[in-house]
């Protein structure tokens, strides 16, 4: 079943590029949602069946695939913003950087020793690449929403790596990750609503009054 997981990881990487490439916020939110769903399926493919597993899967799919995207799209609608206009870095350069980082992450993963059973799969690569994608979104996009999206992509990357530890680690760490994701996103959702109420916009370049003169 691992091979299927591997193909799904390829899909994840593609979604990374979509989230880098698109300018429509709703679309990228959806993309991230899909990514979340895929991540939700992955554990099921890797481990033998158990109710705990089912539980995990359901929770992940619910949170990553539906709750958070709903929150975000509500924020988007309330702030009436459709697109990410003039990002700090154009889409084409971002895509190129994304490609470069993906390549780098492959190089990075190549240098690290792996368990034989993980040897010829690209968990590490995918996770680092996703992490970097998240970073790229965080650094290049103007809208607060896109930054949250970037953060989510990062979280996904971390989650992918988490899969490698799924059976070895106590459940606590994943739970921690999930909690962090959940609460983090909730709080960010709240903050974003506050922002849009305060500034009637989600353009973070308005949020630059605090700086050194």
């Amino acid at each position: 079943m691992f091979s299927l997981a591997d193909q799904l990881l390829v899909l994840v990487l593609l979604i990374n590029f979509i989230s880098l490439g698109t300018s429509r916020l709703i679309f990228s939110i959806r993309a991230v949602a899909v990514q979340g769903v895929i991540l939700g399926i992955l554990p099921g493919l890797m481990h033998p069946f158990s109710w705990h597993l089912v539980g995990i899967t359901i929770v992940i799919i619910a949170v990553k695939g539906f709750i958070i995207p709903m929150l975000l799209s509500r924020a988007v609608r309330s702030a009436e913003i459709k697109r990410e206009y003039e990002p700090f870095l154009g889409y084409v350069p971002t895509l190129l950087l994304g490609a470069i980082f993906t390549a780098l992450s492959f190089g990075f993963a190549g240098k690290l020793p792996m368990l034989p059973e993980h040897q010829n799969f690209m968990f590490v690569q995918a996770s680092i690449a996703t992490l970097m994608t998240g970073f790229l979104v965080l650094t290049t996009r103007r809208k607060a929403i896109s930054q949250v999206i970037g953060y989510l992509v990062m979280e996904n990357g971390i989650f992918i790596f988490g899969l490698l530890l799924a059976e070895a680690m106590p459940i606590m760490v994943e739970a921690g990750a999930l909690l962090d994701l959940l609460v983090g996103t909730f709080v960010m959702g709240i903050v974003i609503n506050q922002i849009s109420r305060e500034f009637s916009s989600l353009d973070t370049s308005l949020l630059t009054s605090l700086k050194e003169e």
């Binding site: 690290l112 709080v187 903050v191 949020l207």
Partner: protein
């Protein structure tokens, strides 16, 4: 015992959340803080054995951090009684409850030896601090909160993946997979250096962000500048120490693996860089709260350098954890009073504080003298220990850079602080209803007395505690 330490504040949080009266809440807060302090001292006196499975283990280092956090929190809670009296315009429900949750999480960080659990607790503090920074409910505070939240979350996320790397290293090494510090230290020799290196880097950046090492410090001036005085005090005197504690855990691990040199050099480099950045940004600083934030950047830099130096400096840094948090308490609380009285944070408007608020102004001045490492205050002891050990180890360059940035920082800070406290208040400055009272002046005064006493006399128990702690961090060839 441990459970009490964690549960009690949570109960307190629930209680304060349910209390409907704004006037009553701070008193309850103070009450719970006091009980927590008592509990802490009890724990320090009679330390229970580590819990089965080794998840909870209060070692000497944890004790120091726990003690400083608890003392500082108690003082801030007392202060909140006086402070919130002047902030009647808004509800303090979130503030009080949030503070107590943070206290619980902080205690958890100090007593657990499970890195994963520690990470969860740290993340909790990060999240629950956000609404406290947003206390003032205005455009600036929301911006500060946003930056704080996003940057710190990213940092903590990086720390998480660092932990994952560590865990995976254990798996790869075919040892019992675990994130318990003691297990990791035991098996450290076997771990593959590639993963360990990667883990250390991510953990350093992650916890470094939380701690505010330059250039990961960017959220600090905004958050400290916009948060209320007592929250600032807790951020710079409490959370910083927690993140530092996390770094120390990583350091212990490094000591066990043979990768320590890289980690030490990285710490020294980032520490010195932080001090230089602080020196640069403190000069001509127009907002005294932001200035304090940079001072906090400076002090995390000092801690990092000291940790990197090792040797005698370890003693210095462990003492500095305590000294710094107490002194920062004095500065933030008194600056909060000054802010209340002038209703401005700008150093152009705030003049002659000594005349207008003899107590708060004096405390602020004394705090400045203390934090810049002048005797007879505690930070002098720690800073001199660190500097001297740098020179004794023959690391002249590190010592020289350290001293130079300390001096530049002193000059910058003096040029900002002295005009604030000296002279006469400008005629056009706003007159507010704030007056120095026992509740607003007492707590920082108490802290200052502590700082002074520790500067001339270190009680024997504390001394032994520091010795044990630094023994834990010795390099064994």
């Amino acid at each position: 015992m441990f459970a009490a330490l964690i549960i009690l504040p949570l109960v307190g949080a629930a209680v304060t959340w349910l209390i409907p009266y704004d006037r009553l809440r701070p008193k309850v807060l103070a009450l719970f803080a006091f009980v927590h302090l008592a509990l802490t001292i009890q724990l320090l006196a009679f330390t229970p054995p580590e819990s089965p499975g080794g998840w909870f283990h209060l070692d000497a280092i944890g004790k120091i951090v726990l003690l400083s956090t608890s003392i500082l929190f108690f003082t801030c809670a007392l202060y909140s009684i006086g402070y919130l009296f002047y902030r009647r315009e808004r509800s303090n429900r979130v503030l009080c409850a949030g503070l107590l949750v943070c206290l619980s999480a902080a205690s958890l960080v100090t007593i657990t030896h499970h890195l994963g659990l520690m990470w969860v607790a740290l993340e909790t503090t990060t999240i629950f601090m956000a609404p406290l920074i947003y206390f003032n409910r205005n455009a600036h505070s929301i911006e500060a909160t946003w930056k704080y939240l996003l940057i710190c979350s990213v940092g903590v996320a990086l720390a998480l993946i660092g932990l994952y790397f560590l865990a995976y290293a254990t798996i790869v090494a075919r040892v019992e997979p675990s994130l318990l510090l003691d297990d990791l230290i035991r098996d450290a020799g076997k771990l593959s250096s590639g993963w360990v290196h990667a883990a250390f880097v991510f953990l350093l950046v992650g916890f470094g962000t939380k701690m505010g090492l330059a250039p990961l410090h960017t959220w600090k001036p905004d958050a400290y500048g916009e948060a209320p005085g007592l929250v600032g005090a807790l951020l710079s005197g409490g959370l910083v120490n927690l993140a530092f504690l996390a770094l120390v855990r990583v350091y212990q691990l490094c000591l066990a693996t043979k990768e320590i040199v890289f980690f030490q050099n990285a710490l020294i480099a980032m520490g010195l860089f932080s001090m230089i950045v602080a020196a640069v940004f403190m000069a001509r600083q127009a907002d005294f709260k932001r200035m304090l934030a940079y001072s906090s950047v400076e002090h995390v830099g000092i801690m990092a350098v000291a940790l990197g130096l090792g040797g005698r400096a370890i003693f210095g840094v462990l003492f500095h954890v305590l000294a710094n948090s107490l002194t920062k308490g004095v500065l933030f609380l008194s600056s909060g009073n000054i802010h209340r009285s002038y209703n401005s944070k700008s150093t152009d408007h705030v003049r002659g504080a000594m005349r207008r608020l003899p107590w708060s102004g004096g405390l602020f001045l004394a705090g400045f003298i203390a934090i810049t490492g002048s005797p007879p205050f505690a930070p002098f002891i720690s800073e001199f220990t660190i500097i001297s050990s740098a020179f004794i180890q023959g690391r002249m360059l590190v010592g020289a850079l350290f001293l130079i940035s300390l001096t530049v920082i002193f000059i910058g800070m003096a040029l900002t602080v002295l005009p604030m406290v000296m002279g006469e208040a400008p005629a056009d400055s706003e007159i507010t209803d704030y007056r120095d009272s026992v509740w607003t002046v007492g707590p920082p005064l108490f802290l200052l007395l502590l700082v002074f006493l520790l500067g001339i006399w270190i009680p024997e128990p504390l001394m032994t505690l520091l010795r044990e702690a630094s023994a834990l961090l010795e390099e064994r060839p």
